[in-house]
């Protein structure tokens, strides 16, 4: 596949992620912070987010598995996950966290367990999408092309 085709495929793929709500404008902000002097910025931030999230999801699983659930602790973890997902533009994860927090407030164990499942699902989805997108970018760069910019307003 030649570079132009790969670039078009990347643009279409990235646009679909915005259309489907996986990513929001904050992700565009991050892309704009990447340039020749910092060519791996997005990859680095996404990696940090993925590592951080895996840890938080593990902590959440353990916290909700306790005989006496400490909802304050659970809420603190969800708050962190909400923050980092918001900072990278992972919109659906962020929204799942918002719902999660309201059930933490109610100290509703069944609902919070369902929320955890929901957050995990959204997380794995966006993880998959981001990794696919970054792989496409890598292929373009390896073939000597540049990563096309997405502009909102499509």
């Amino acid at each position: 596949m030649e570079v132009g085709q790969m670039q078009r495929r990347l643009v279409d793929y990235t646009k679909s992620l915005f259309m489907e709500g996986f990513l929001d404008a904050q992700f565009l902000q991050l892309q704009q912070l990447q340039d020749e002097s910092n060519p791996d910025f997005v990859v680095e931030v996404v990696s940090l987010f993925l590592d951080d999230s895996e840890k938080l999801l593990n902590d959440l699983t353990m916290a909700l598995d306790q005989p006496n659930v400490d909802f304050k602790k659970v809420d603190a973890h969800v708050h962190q996950l909400k923050g980092s997902s918001s900072s990278i533009g992972a919109q659906r994860v962020k929204n799942a966290c918002i719902a999660f927090r309201s059930f933490c407030e109610e100290q509703n164990i069944d609902a919070t367990l369902r929320c955890l499942q929901q957050v995990k699902q959204e997380y794995y989805l966006v993880k998959n999408k981001l990794e696919t997108m970054l792989r496409l970018e890598q292929q373009i760069v390896a073939a000597g092309g540049s990563i096309p910019m997405i502009e909102l307003g499509f």
């Binding site: 929001d24 404008a25 904050q26 565009l28 902000q29 991050l30 704009q32 912070l33 340039d35 910092n38 910025f41 680095e44 931030v45 940090l48 987010f49 951080d52 603190a76 708050h79 962190q80 909400k82 923050g83 980092s84 918001s86 900072s87 990278i88 533009g89 910019m149 502009e151 909102l152 307003g153």
Partner: protein
């Protein structure tokens, strides 16, 4: 939160370089960024660097105080009072601006703000609070305690540029005042030596008017594309309405 088009100018480095040229006569703003989230630290660090700042990022209020040399625990350990060499290990470069997250384990951003404002050495440093929660009561509390501004997360480049712009302006104005004062002192001393006691005020006023016009106009051009965002800050809105 979608912003259309206006992002295109950010991609080229010419505008940023142009902005750098106009500030090359002053030092870079050194920002101490405080956030317990690794992801957020990475992002804020990049936002600040791309805005031509020097950045020191720490993960807690405690570490921020250590960096400033305000940590009481360390001070207590020094039995014979102030030891400048001891503080050199912890203190870094002079900080021009502190930008801190509100919600942090241990010391919150609000508590850090209070500690900074209570210190005679550091109370002049502007402190900006960041929070994911846009709560008026929280914003008010921070402003009352002396916060310079309040940014709602996620932080965008326009937020950072706005803050750096007015920090740079205030620093420059401070330097200009200092420079004008020093020059006046120099002129006065020379006149006293010459036995001339006609201390007209025209030299200082020419100095201040000629030096202040160009930097501020170049700041204006750099912020022009993002000027609508000055209204986005909750505190800027409050400040603007109260001054009119």
């Amino acid at each position: 939160m979608a912003r259309n088009g206006g992002v295109a100018w950010m991609r080229t480095t010419e505008k940023i370089d142009g902005y750098d040229l106009s500030t090359s006569d002053t030092e870079e703003v050194h920002v101490l960024a405080v956030d317990d989230s690794l992801v957020d630290r990475k992002v804020i660090e990049r936002l600040l660097r791309i805005s031509s700042c020097k950045v020191t990022a720490v993960d807690s209020g405690r570490r921020a105080l250590q960096y400033l040399g305000l940590d009481e625990e360390i001070q207590k350990k020094e039995t014979n009072g102030f030891d400048p060499f001891f503080y050199c290990d912890f203190q870094g470069l002079k900080v021009d601006l502190i930008i801190t997250d509100y919600c942090m384990p241990g010391m919150t951003g609000y508590e850090l703000l209070k500690k900074v404002k209570e210190s005679s050495a550091f109370r002049e440093i502007p402190v900006v609070i960041m929070s994911s929660e846009n709560v008026i009561a929280r914003i008010d509390r921070c402003l009352e305690e002396g916060a310079e501004d309040f940014i709602v997360k996620p932080v965008k480049l326009s937020d950072v540029k706005r803050i750096i712009d007015y920090t740079t302006t205030e620093l420059r104005e401070g330097e200009l005042r200092e420079g004008a004062r020093a020059k006046r002192r120099g002129i006065n001393k020379r006149k006293q030596r010459e036995g001339d006691d006609d201390l007209s005020s025209s030299p200082p006023s020419t100095l201040s008017s000629s030096t202040s016009s160009s930097p501020s106009s170049s700041i204006q051009s750099a912020t022009a594309p993002s000027s609508p965002s000055t209204l986005d800050s909750p505190t800027r809105r409050l400040k603007m309405t109260s001054s009119e």
